[in-house]
């Protein structure tokens, strides 16, 4: 291959990769702002609490990588599960997550979140930074969103980092604690998840 060809190939690759990154980063922050706007619209609208919860669940199903968060939350335990246990876990985790997610958000009324910037970590992840405006009862809160960008046409949220504290990591350590305090039995976690979802 001649020097000229190598140069052309390198130029081509640089253009391709810089465009890919650009598409990811732009889409990730627009995606978060649009998701936040949808949630704010739901929370600020004239809906009953039940309707609000259902709408929030719909938004979560479309925009959050529930399965990915579920696997992450299991940590190294996920490697020890049988297929049946894994399928059971996926089911109860999804129910648990949607209930927990909608319940956490449903108590906010009309939150004002402004997307400030984004940082592309690699081709799979972009971190989008935003600010939840302060109110009389609480200070301003910095929220970062870990967006899974592997499929640019279907961006998904994998974590919320509030003032530097990762919700996914907190959940992972909570799950690990439940499993460890029950002699390493995954069934204990499945029962806890199922009980929580059924509350």
């Amino acid at each position: 291959m001649s020097i000229k060809n190598i140069f052309s190939l390198l130029t081509f690759l640089i253009i391709i990769f810089s465009n890919v990154t650009k598409v990811h980063s732009i889409e990730a922050d627009v995606f978060i702002q649009s998701t936040v706007n949808r949630a704010a619209q739901t929370l600020g609208g004239n809906l009953t609490k039940e309707e609000r919860v259902e709408k929030l669940k719909d938004i979560a199903r479309e925009t959050v990588d529930i399965e990915g968060i579920g696997f992450y939350s299991l940590g190294s335990n996920r490697k020890n599960l049988t297929d049946d246990q894994l399928n059971e876990y996926k089911k109860v985790f999804s129910e648990y997550f949607l209930k927990s997610f909608s319940s956490r958000l449903a108590e906010y009324s009309n939150p004002e979140i402004e997307v400030n910037s984004k940082k592309v970590i690699n081709e799979n992840y972009t971190i989008v930074s935003s600010t939840l405006a302060g109110t009389d009862s609480r200070p301003e809160v910095k929220i970062e969103w870990r967006v899974y960008t592997k499929n640019p046409e279907n961006l998904l949220i994998r974590d919320l980092i509030i003032e530097g504290l990762s919700l996914a990591r907190t959940q992972k350590e909570e799950f690990s604690s439940i499993i460890n305090s029950n002699d390493g039995k995954i069934e204990a976690l499945l029962k806890n998840l199922s009980d929580f979802a059924g509350k």
Partner: protein, 261 residues
């Protein structure tokens, strides 16, 4: 001089021996705060329960009452407490070798204590001082490479680690000028009750700012104790690394293995 010697001794002891009775996995690694062991978990859980009852009976109701005060009163109180915390932050900036920030924080303290009337008004922020970041002796020990030791829950005071608890002791053996001036009796105008009042107010102010978030966390946790432990350790890790960048303190390893698309 005696106090300085005690502080140095404690620091050296922590740096060299804190891990001696453990398997050496207790350090807060830069990438994994989960490595801090909960060596006294059953005692910690019992203390956590006690603190939780205390919170329900005393701190939460008081914080709710405090929340009813006019916003300027709460902001002023919070500003005074933040200003007093500079007295611990500044020596820690120096101990961490961050002389520039020590200078800025000294300027901030001088401006807010005088023009800002004992810190009630954060004049420094309004005239363009950079954002204030608190530092303490636990963070300094961490910065020096001292491992966290085990996770502990202290009665009334809440989550900590062996290292951070020693860090708090440094405050009362000369490391906190506000303690020296008030509780230690080096001043005719102040007494130990002034010190206690500021510490209690600090706790109430923190609780009032986190009423909803802690309630929400409790309501949505299956193991509230484990959630609080995780959040505390993540927070300390971030403060010790002095990093605002999430990706600098997060362990991406587990995420990278997960493919759902």
């Amino acid at each position: 001089m005696k106090k300085l010697l005690i502080t140095s001794f404690v620091a050296i002891m922590l740096a060299s021996n804190v891990n001696a009775g453990t398997d050496g996995e207790n350090d807060i690694s830069n990438k994994n705060p989960g490595k801090v062991k909960d060596c006294f978990e059953s005692i910690n859980r019992a203390t956590f329960k006690f603190n939780h009852v205390l919170d329900n009976v005393i701190f939460e109701p008081v914080a709710k009452g405090y929340r009813k005060l006019p916003s300027p009163v709460r902001t002023g109180t919070s500003n005074v407490l933040t200003n007093l915390s500079s007295l611990i932050t500044i020596p820690n900036n120096v101990l961490q070798g961050d002389f520039k920030t020590a200078g800025i924080n000294t300027g901030r303290f001088a401006v807010n204590t005088t023009v800002g009337i004992l810190g009630i008004f954060d004049v420094a922020e309004k005239i363009g001082f950079s954002e204030y970041v608190k530092e303490d002796y636990g963070q300094t020990f961490g910065k020096w490479g001292v491992g966290a030791g085990c996770y502990v829950v202290l009665p009334v005071l809440g989550p900590s680690t062996v290292r951070d608890t020693f860090g708090s002791f440094v405050n009362v053996i000369g490391g906190d000028p506000w303690y020296n001036a008030s509780a230690n009796g080096n001043n005719h105008y102040l007494s130990d009750s002034d010190y206690v009042i500021t510490k209690v107010l600090g706790g109430v102010d923190f609780r009032a700012k986190n009423l909803e978030s802690l309630d929400n966390l409790e309501k949505n946790s299956m193991d509230f104790y484990a959630s609080i432990r995780s959040l505390y350790l993540q927070d300390r890790q971030q403060k010790i690394s002095n990093s605002k960048a999430v990706t600098d303190t997060q362990d991406d390893g587990d995420w990278e293995e997960i493919e759902t698309q």
